[in-house]
């Protein structure tokens, strides 16, 4: 086992961080009086608060530590998770979808499905979200315990229970308000810990030119080797990347995952809500550069035996997730190690707090209030929300023990997305932009799409079908294309959901235009969306266009 030696200064930094976060929980408790305060942070936040909290909820240990490891495996192809797998969907959310979400005054995404379709759609989507959240939180908890266990030498069980107890404490105390406050603090701490890593790494290897010199073309370009799956480390074609990652998975996560969108719902006005994902997109690009850059630097060091750098090997298996902690160990002196370890803890806390605050909102509003107790008072909902946090964390602890037995968490994470998020986004986008889709069409679309995706995944895992089964022939099926299978499974889930919804809608009764007003494009009754009279540089569309230009330039330069 490898452990990072911590000096008293490093411990002091960690203690200050924990004490500060715990104090925030107690401090904010007196400002959390109603269920709106708890679940939507009182709807009074600026676009910067929402945008940073939005991005911070996404900066969990999986997204940072996990994807740095993926860069070793997939080279620059890992950057697609930050580019085509994020930016277009984030901009679409801000420019087109947010007005519907924000104006309908919903408290959750399932709440939108109820308003657009019916109660059954809401409950089904809420149940899927809750299952998804427990699985994802379990992975996050496991990764955090892995860091404590492997690099600090702490007992595995103690690491997991201590982390779980701390998250339970502050989310239970103040809900989303506390989660968002700490997410913003953690956002800055995460950057303080990771931004310096690629800087020192580049100095060590001799600048960016060393990356280009040391890596083969498949590892240092984004698209030029995507014509054939045999030419790139992800074993995928551009079709799978664009349709699977860029469309089905990215839109599923960024436009319908309540975990992150909840931050935009707490905005003080529509413009702030629309700017939330657009501000997030700039930080997403920067995060991609830091995380993938760090991974590529490690790849250069691994390819050079004289560097003395190698990944952790456990039970004969390479642990890709060890890249970032091992680089910190290589470059970080006392004090910096404290900031580095604290930033890894902050990633976990930010991700877990986000998971739990959205879990308790969906459970309380869309399952408890909708099915179990329709007459519950605001005070009762607040109590249920706090109780849900504790139960959610206990379930996540169970999920963490399951995740511990999994081979690779990122591949598994994308598999979860393909099953639970892709069918939902297919129906939400279809319903939002086409009034033809009926309530029964929406419900059956989600049900059939989810069932097929889960069945395909289970069949693949128990080896009834090969990994290549879901990959079309023209996309070059390969037994090594586990990630490609996730992307294509998401595409099929999307198409099956869409097809089912259209067919069922053809035979079933629809709502009237009056009932759909405000929930379907073209039937919007709020002028604020189309007639905002503000200067160009304050418009969300303007900043979305700037991100889009940067996104296109990056793709061309690294083609």
């Amino acid at each position: 086992m490898v452990s990072i030696p911590l000096s008293p200064f490093d411990w002091a930094i960690m203690i200050v961080y924990f004490a500060f976060i715990a104090w925030i929980g107690f401090y904010l408790k007196k400002f959390t009086k109603t269920d709106d305060d708890f679940f939507l942070a009182g709807r009074r936040n600026s676009m910067w608060v929402c945008g940073i909290a939005f991005m911070s909820a996404n900066m969990g240990s999986m997204e940072v530590i996990g994807y740095a490891g993926q860069s070793i495996k997939y080279g620059l192809y890992a950057a697609h998770f930050y580019l085509i797998g994020a930016v277009p969907a984030m901009l679409f959310l801000g420019v087109f979808m947010m007005p519907f979400y924000y104006h309908s005054k919903i408290k959750s995404i399932p709440g939108y499905l109820k308003a657009r379709f019916n109660e059954s759609s809401r409950v089904f989507n809420a149940a899927m979200f809750v299952v998804n959240m427990v699985l994802v939180s379990g992975i996050a908890l496991y990764l955090q315990a892995l860091i404590f266990h492997t690099f600090l030498g702490w007992n595995w069980d103690m690491s997991i229970w201590l982390s779980a107890a701390f998250v339970a404490l502050y989310v239970t105390l103040s809900g989303l308000l506390s989660a968002m406050f700490t997410e913003i603090l953690q956002f800055f701490l995460i950057w303080a810990g990771i931004l310096i890593l690629p800087i020192l790494g580049l100095v060590d290897i001799g600048g960016p030119a060393a990356i280009s010199k040391a890596l083969s073309v498949g590892f240092k370009t984004l698209w030029s080797t995507s014509g054939s799956p045999q030419n790139n480390p992800m074993y995928i074609t551009w079709g799978g990347l664009v349709l699977g990652l860029g469309f089905a998975i990215a839109f599923g996560y960024w436009t319908t995952d309540f975990l992150i969108i909840q931050r935009a719902f707490s905005a003080k006005d529509l413009r702030s809500a629309r700017m939330t994902p657009i501000i997030g997109s700039y930080f997403k690009l920067l995060l991609g550069a830091v995380v993938v850059g760090t991974g590529l630097i490690a790849l250069v060091l691994i390819n050079n035996p004289s560097s003395g750098f190698s990944l952790l090997i456990e039970n004969g298996k390479v642990n890709y997730d060890s890249v970032m902690p091992l680089l910190m160990r290589r470059y970080f002196t006392p004090g910096l190690i404290g900031v580095g370890v604290t930033s890894m803890v902050a990633m976990f806390m930010a991700g877990m707090a986000g998971n739990m605050s959205s879990f308790n909102a969906v459970w309380t509003y869309d399952i408890y209030h909708s099915v179990i107790n329709k007459k519950a008072s605001s005070q009762k909902l607040l109590t249920i929300g706090r109780l849900a946090t504790v139960i959610g964390i206990l379930l996540s602890v169970a999920g963490a023990y399951i995740a511990r037995s999994m081979p690779t968490v990122i591949d598994y994470l994308q598999a979860i997305s393909s099953m639970f998020l892709s069918p939902s986004v297919a129906i939400i986008i279809l319903g939002m932009f086409w009034k033809f889709i009926t309530p029964k069409g929406g419900l059956w679309g989600m049900l059939v799409g989810t069932f097929v995706a889960v069945a395909l995944f289970i069949a693949q895992e128990i080896k009834v079908i090969p990994v290549s089964f879901v990959i079309p022939d023209f996309s070059g099926a390969s037994a090594q294309s586990y990630m490609a299978a996730n992307f294509w499974r998401a595409v099929w889930a999307w198409l099956i959901s869409t097809g089912t919804a259209i067919v069922v809608s053809y035979f079933t009764k629809n709502k009237t235009d009056e009932e759909l007003k405000g929930f379907v494009y073209g039937l919007n009754d709020n002028n604020e969306v189309v007639e905002e009279k503000i200067v160009l540089y304050k418009k969300p569309e303007f900043w979305a266009a700037v991100t889009l230009v940067i996104f296109i330039i990056i793709n061309i330069v690294l083609w």
Binding site: P5, S7, F9, D10, A12, I13, V16, Y17, F20, I24, Y27, L28, F31, A41, R44, N45, S46, W48, V49, M180, F181, I184, L185, F188, L189, A192, I196, L200, V203, D204, R330, Y331, F332, T333, P334, G335, L336, G338, V339, T342
Partner: protein, 75 residues
């Protein structure tokens, strides 16, 4: 959460506070390390990143504290 007269402290003030505290400890570690170098095998230790990175974090913290010290969120 970031404007108003009395009530909750501005989040940006709290961001400044924690960055200042953490930067200060990091800088102290860097200065201590100058006089009593740790015997760990750390690459690029001669760059004393903990000193200049600590100073940068302190400066960022001070900017946030000064700009937001009188801001409260109205209730």
């Amino acid at each position: 959460m970031d404007a108003g007269k009395k009530g909750m402290r501005s989040i940006w003030f709290l961001v400044g506070l924690i960055m200042f505290m953490i930067g200060l400890i990091e800088l102290s570690a860097g200065i201590y390390d100058l006089f009593y170098p740790s015997n760990q095998d750390v690459k690029l230790a001669y760059l004393h990143a903990n000193i200049w990175w600590g100073v940068l974090i302190i400066v960022a913290g001070i900017i946030y504290i000064v700009k937001n010290k009188n801001k409260y969120v109205s209730q």
